[in-house]
Each structure stands twice: as structure tokens, then as C-alpha cells.
Point group: C2
Chain length 453, copies 2
């Protein structure tokens, strides 16, 4: 392979480096958060709760077993913010690195566009990549910080206002979903800002930018120069728009008259709240409506949005928009009687379709198994158990109330699901990319068709 | 095409014939069942309930809005039995006919095996096929009738005993799930026979034979002569065995201590009941345990079994065992880094994998949409709504209590789901088979790979 891998990681595969790096970061975070200095009360947290918070932060999930603002001291909160930033940046950098270097089969156009920045596969290329991710992150988070400050400083004063603006800008861009508004009401998240356009649009903007992925952002930044977008970027932008609009319409339709959610709001606020609640499940985890009060149909739909999640090489989780797009295109092509999967006048090769299928089936299997275990360990109903499971798998962080009441077994189960949900799909993709470079065995068996359907 | 199609069906496609034929049969049945003579009380049933029963019988589903034994007169019950037999035979014949004549791409071996019986694609070939399906059906149902008589005649006397044996043998082989034991306790199904090996093994045997499909039965019958099994038959037998054993183990594990289901039974009865309750969701719809009392995890697992269903060209529904097998083989091949999907030293072509994917995605979409509608129209929770929806889609007929309490909107929704679930997957498959014979458009777009996962 390349010089980098021969040097530092000579005995580990890139996926192993990723898994070990994340595990060590989580462990460090858990130790820090279990110190007395990290809590408001000065009494150390049970290690399992510190581990849960650290996993949730590093995997940018946002599920919490203890309320962040009322439990953790400012020191603890800053630790959480750093864990979020490390987890988000680390994953985004790695995923982009993987996309460019390991998964060499990325589209030609993309490579042409990105060649400038990463023309040498060596240490300086990696440093340059990390630097670029870092700069884009800082610019976007900085912008979010300024916009949120305009709103938060008048409300909370200089110190607290700037601190809140920083924390929530980082949390939103990294799709982490952690919030500090538990002082107002425990686990209340952004409910107090349900009708505030400034907060809603800034945070949803950060979520969307964090969720479309670094490769798409870079292509958009360079669009003026290059005048071209790769198939990947087109698919990400199309699917993201479709999912946001469809989610908004469906939430409006089902919750319109629910007095505990949209029913009590003005017309404009209903639009704003349903827009925000459509963006957030993929995979930010903020909420301005009380999810526990939503109708089962809406919650089920939100589960679907959480399962799909964000886009590759982003801070978000889930099976990813391109995975869904590829499967839908394959099905649509099949219905129209085409053998090839075509989008925007480009053909998606068979093994990309298979990869999408593999990741979806693996994700479904994981989610179904964890859901079934949770209904047993927590004596929860299926909807509640599935909601928290998919939220953990998709690194979303939305909750309808089960997570704060989890048993120790349930906590361990959700910790593992967050970890698998964060690293699983990518490491599967990496493993598959490596395998795909090996040729098929020389024996070619004769074809035979079973009946289908 | 062939002489048959040029003649009778010259203006209709085979799928249209199937859909219209089923719709007319259902309508005839509904009219008969809404007559005063069809009810025990002599008062005519509301048409929507007669339509529901007729759809459920013709689609061999078994979901009931009124208890069969206490509502319908013997005349009504015999009408139901004939509707079941017509629906089961009609579908099985058509599906086999399709597999052999329309879907010409069936495996070579199968065609060799079946060539004898259907060597001419003309009217006499069709008559011969129908005759063969009829004979095999009569032989198996006759055997079931005798075995059930041995048990039912001593219990209910000659008249009722023989009548019960006939009705339940027909209902079981056609995977219909209708029962006459409502006299004992309304909607009680086979609960009174939970520990009866004769009834359990006979009925489960009929269910399995009805569910593996006519093509598999025929191959097994001719195995002595031919000494070979097609890939299709191997996949059906393997998946059927795996699903029965896995289902049994899982039901045993989750329900072992549930006092309302397995908990109160002896060791042997637990084995028998969990075996029966593993066979029945695919897609017979009988139950010897009270499903409404099962734990959510078990019910969720039963939903999965119902979704998979039986095998092609059978009386059963669902996405079918071969569809699941093909998807799992594709995923497994992907994980092992193979480009080809291989089973039993045979390669399954790409477009069969796509077909399996298409049917699964279409089925998932239907089930999710109907479930969401039902949670709204019936104010039901997700698990209950999903259970009845998948039961209707898979033509299973199991219920945890929602169906008898459906609103008119809910009844119409379930009627449509039963119809779509019975005809949908096959008509999709037919449509796809036709399309696949058309070549791809001459333009071949360049390849480009989006990032996945
Ligand atoms: K999140
Ligand atoms: K059935």
C-alpha cells in the first residue's frame, strides 16, 4: 500500500486503527467524566453513566442517561464538547481519507476535483486533508457561534450566552444533539425555542451542513471553479432535499391537531417546528417538540428517518442517503425493466448495489436484534424499544423516554449499539472495498434461477 | 405468444386475468355470504363483513371480523370452504403455469423434470397441469382428512367429526387458517388442541406441504426417477427447515416462563406448541397459543416470520423463502468478497437478486404505509397495527385482537392489503419477467460510484 500505512499502521488495518482510536477516546472521556470535578454536585458519577455519556459524545449520538446541564459541572460540559469535536472530526477525517485513498473506486470526477488537495498519498497529504477538514469545520462552527450568540447573549448575558452559542454550535455541526437547556427543564432540549426562527434555522443549517459530508461540502466550495458535481454529490443533495420535505409534510399531516405537539402552535410555528423535526432525526437529535407526546404513526416515521440518517463522510450516522438512493434506484430500474442502475446519466455498478444491500440488511438485523433484547431487559413495548435502538444505531440521540430509565444491561446494550452504529457501516464498507479488489475464484458455476416472489 | 393466449386472453395479460378472476370470485363469495341463508341467525350480514370474509377466504388469509362457527350457518361454512379451495387451487395453478410458461427463465433442470407433463404449450397442456395440481391436492387433503377424522370423530361424533376433519384439512393445506372451533370459545382457533400430537402434526404437515409449493412437491414426487433436485427446490427446503427450527427455538426461549402461553404446559407440550407456532405464521394462521398474551419480542419475531411467508407456486403468501434466501446469499457473498451470488454450486444471476430486492422493498413499503394508516384510523399501537397488517399482507391470518374490532375504514384497508398481498408479489414478478425479456436501451452510460455506508 502507501508509505503512511507501511509506517505507522504497519500491523493494523485502517478499520482496526479507527475502532481502537475511538475506543481509547471513549475510555479517556469516561475516566474524565467520572471524576468528582466533572459533576455539579461534586460526587463522582457511576462509571457506567460516565461511560454512556462519553460513548454518546464521541459517537456524536446525544442519547443521555443523566441530564447534561444539571448533572455535569462546566468542566464536565467542556469535556463533553471536546469529546464531540474529537469524535466528529476524527470520523469525518477518517471517512474522507478512506473515501479518497482506500476506496480507490470513487468516481473519476470526484478524484479530479480533489486531486489538487491530495495529489500525494503520503504524510503531507494526510496533514493537508486534516487541516482542510479542520478549517471548514471551524469556519462553519464559527458562523453558527456568531448567529447563535446574537440570540443567546441578550437572553443569558455575555458569559453564559457565548458559552451556550459555542456549545450548541459544536453540538449541532457535529450532529451530536447534546444540549445545556436542562436548567430550564430537565431533558427539555430545544423545546423552549420551538417558535424561534433564528435558533431553528441556524441549528438546522449546521445540522444539514454537518450531515451532507465533507466531500460534498468541498465539491460545493469548488463548484465555481470546476462547474461540475459528481454523481455522489447529486445523489446526496437530491435525497437530503426529498427526505427533509417529505418528513416535514408527513409530520405536519399527522401531528396537525395533536394538542401536545403542533396543535397548540400558530401556523408559522407549525411549519417551523415540523421542518426542524424533519431535519433533526437525520441524525442530529435535537427536538423542539415533545416526542413522547407524538402519535405512534409519527414516531414510526421518525424511526425510518433516523434509520436512513445522514450522508457518507459526514458527522452523521444511519445507513446513509446514498445507500437508500442506490437501493431505490435499483428497484426503480427493475420496475422499468432495465438491467442497469442509472442515475443522472451515470451507471452505478452492480457491486455498489450489493454493498448498499449488505449495509442495509446488516443494519436491519442489528436493529431488530437489539430491539428484541431491549423489550426483554427493559420490559418496554416495541415502539419505545425500537425508537431508542434506531436512535442509538443512527447516532441520532432522540428519545421518547426510555434511555434515562435504562437498566445496567440496557445501558450496556445501547453503548454497544452506539459504537456499532458509528463505526459499523463504514468499517463494513472498508472491508468490502478491500475484498472487492480481490478477483473472484477461477471456478465459474453454471447459472440457475430460483423462482422469486 | 402461444395459442392459448392468442385465443382466450388475447386482449388481457396473464396478470390481468389473475387479478380479474380473483376479484370476481371474491365478489361472488361476498354476495353468497351476505344472504340470510349463510348466517346462523338468519339475519343477513353487513356486506362489508361478507366481503371481508370472502376476501380472506379466496386470498387464503384467515383473518376474520366475525367468528366463523358462531356467525355462519353450515351453508355459509361450506361456501367459505369452496372459496378457500378455489383461491388456493387457482393461485397455485396460475403460479405454476406462470413459472413454467411465462417465466421461461426457470432453471434448466426443472424444465427437464417437468417437460414430461407439460411438453406442449397448448390447451391440453394447461388442462393437464390443472389436473395434476388437482390430483396432488386431493391426495394430500384426503390424507389429512383421514388423519384428522381419527381424532375428531371420537370427539364430535360421525357427522360433525367428518365435517370438521374435511374443513380443517382443506383450510390447512391451502394455508387458509379458517377454523370452526368458535363454538367452544369465540375466536379460539386450535387452542384446545395445544397438546394433541395427532392434530398438531397432521395440520402442521398439511401447512408445510401446502407452503413449499407445487413445483417442489412435483420434484420430490419424481425424485426416485430423476435423482436430482433443482436449485429452487434445494433453497426452498433449506430455508423452510431453517425458519421452522429457528422459530421454534426463539419462541421456546422467549415464552418459556410466560404463564399465559408456554409457562403452564408440560415439557413435551412446550416443544409441540412452539413447533406449531413456528410453522403456522408462514403462512397458515392457525394458533394453539393465545397470541395476544405473548411477549412483545415474540410477537415481533412472529411478524418477521409472517413477512417471509411460504415458497413460490404455493398456497402461501409473504415475500417467499427463495426471496429471503437470495438476498441473504447476496449479502453473504458480498461479505466474503465475491461478485457472484452462489448457492449449491450454482450462480444466481444479478437480475434475480434485483427481483428479490424489488419485491422485498415493495412489500416493506406497503406494510409500513398500511401500518401507519391503521395506527391513525384505529388508534392502535404500532405493534398491534403491524401484526395485523403483516398478517394480511402475508395471507397469514393470525391476529392479536385488532381485526374483529376494525372500523369500516380499517376493514377496507385490510381487504385491500389481503388482495395486494396475495396477488402483488406474483404480478410484480410476472411484470418483471416480461420486462426482462426486453433488451436494455442501446445507450450505455459511463460508470460512476457513489460512496456507500
Ligand atoms: K446525534
Ligand atoms: K393463511
Amino acid at each position: 500500500m502507501n508509505r503512511l500505512e507501511k509506517g505507522i499502521f504497519s500491523r493494523l488495518t485502517p478499520s482496526q486503527v479507527l475502532v481502537i482510536g475511538f475506543a481509547l477516546t471513549i475510555l479517556t472521556g469516561a475516566i474524565l467524566l467520572s471524576l468528582p470535578i466533572s459533576t455539579e454536585s461534586g460526587k463522582p458519577l457511576p462509571f457506567i453513566d460516565a461511560l454512556f455519556t462519553s460513548t454518546s459524545a464521541v459517537c456524536v449520538t446525544g442519547l443521555v442517561v443523566v441530564d447534561t446541564a444539571t448533572t455535569y459541572s462546566t468542566f464536565g460540559e467542556v469535556v463533553i464538547m471536546f469529546l464531540i469535536q474529537t469524535g466528529g472530526l476524527g470520523f469525518m477525517t477518517y471517512a474522507t481519507f478512506f473515501a479518497l485513498l482506500v476506496g480507490k473506486k470513487i468516481g473519476m470526477r470526484e478524484r479530479l476535483i480533489l486531486r489538487e488537495a491530495f495529489n500525494q498519498v503520503d504524510m503531507s497529504g494526510v496533514v493537508r486533508l486534516v487541516l482542510m477538514v479542520l478549517i471548514i469545520t471551524l469556519v462553519i462552527e464559527g458562523l453558527g457561534f456568531i448567529l447563535l450568540s446574537i440570540r443567546f447573549v441578550p437572553e443569558w448575558g455575555w458569559g453564559k450566552g457565548l458559552y451556550y452559542a459555542l456549545f450548541h454550535s459544536v453540538s449541532a455541526f457535529n450532529n451530536a444533539g447534546f444540549d445545556l437547556f436542562g436548567d430550564y427543564q430537565k431533558f427539555s432540549n430545544l423545546i423552549r425555542y420551538v417558535g424561534d426562527p433564528m435558533v431553528n434555522l441556524t441549528i438546522s443549517g449546521l445540522i444539514i451542513l454537518g450531515g451532507i459530508g465533507f466531500i460534498v461540502i468541498l465539491e460545493l466550495v469548488q463548484f465555481r471553479k470546476t462547474k461540475r458535481l459528481s454523481l455522489h454529490t447529486k445523489l446526496v443533495l437530491t435525497m437530503t432535499s426529498i427526505l427533509i420535505v417529505a418528513g416535514m409534510i408527513l409530520i405536519l399531516a399527522t401531528e396537525w391537531t395533536n394538542p401536545a405537539t403542533l396543535g397548540k402552535l400558530s401556523f408559522g410555528d407549525r411549519l417551523l417546528a415540523s421542518y426542524f423535526q424533519s431535519v433533526s432525526p437525520r441524525t442530529a437529535g435535537f427536538n423542539t417538540l415533545n416526542l413522547a407526546e407524538m402519535y405512534p404513526a409519527t414516531l414510526f416515521f421518525i424511526i425510518l428517518l433516523m434509520f436512513v440518517g445522514a450522508s457518507p463522510s459526514s458527522t452523521g450516522g444511519g445507513i446513509k442517503t446514498t445507500t437508500l438512493a442506490t437501493i431505490l434506484l435499483a428497484v426503480w430500474g427493475m420496475i422499468r425493466g432495465r438491467d442497469n442502475v442509472v442515475a443522472y446519466r451515470r451507471r452505478i455498478p452492480y457491486n455498489q448495489v450489493y454493498k448498499a444491500l449488505t449495509i442495509t440488511v446488516a443494519a436491519l438485523t442489528l436493529v431488530i436484534m437489539v430491539t428484541m433484547f431491549l423489550t426483554i431487559t427493559e420490559r418496554a413495548d416495541i415502539l419505545t424499544a425500537m425508537f431508542e435502538t434506531v436512535s442509538a444505531f443512527g447516532t441520532v440521540g432522540l428519545s421518547i423516554g426510555l434511555t434515562p430509565e435504562l437498566s445496567v444491561a440496557g445501558k450496556i446494550l445501547i453503548i454497544l449499539t452506539m459504537f456499532a452504529g458509528r463505526l459499523g457501516p463504514l468499517t463494513i464498507a472498508v472491508a468490502l472495498a478491500r475484498r472487492l479488489q480481490e478477483p473472484d475464484p477461477p471456478i465459474r458455476f453454471p447459472e440457475e434461477r430460483p423462482l422469486i416472489g
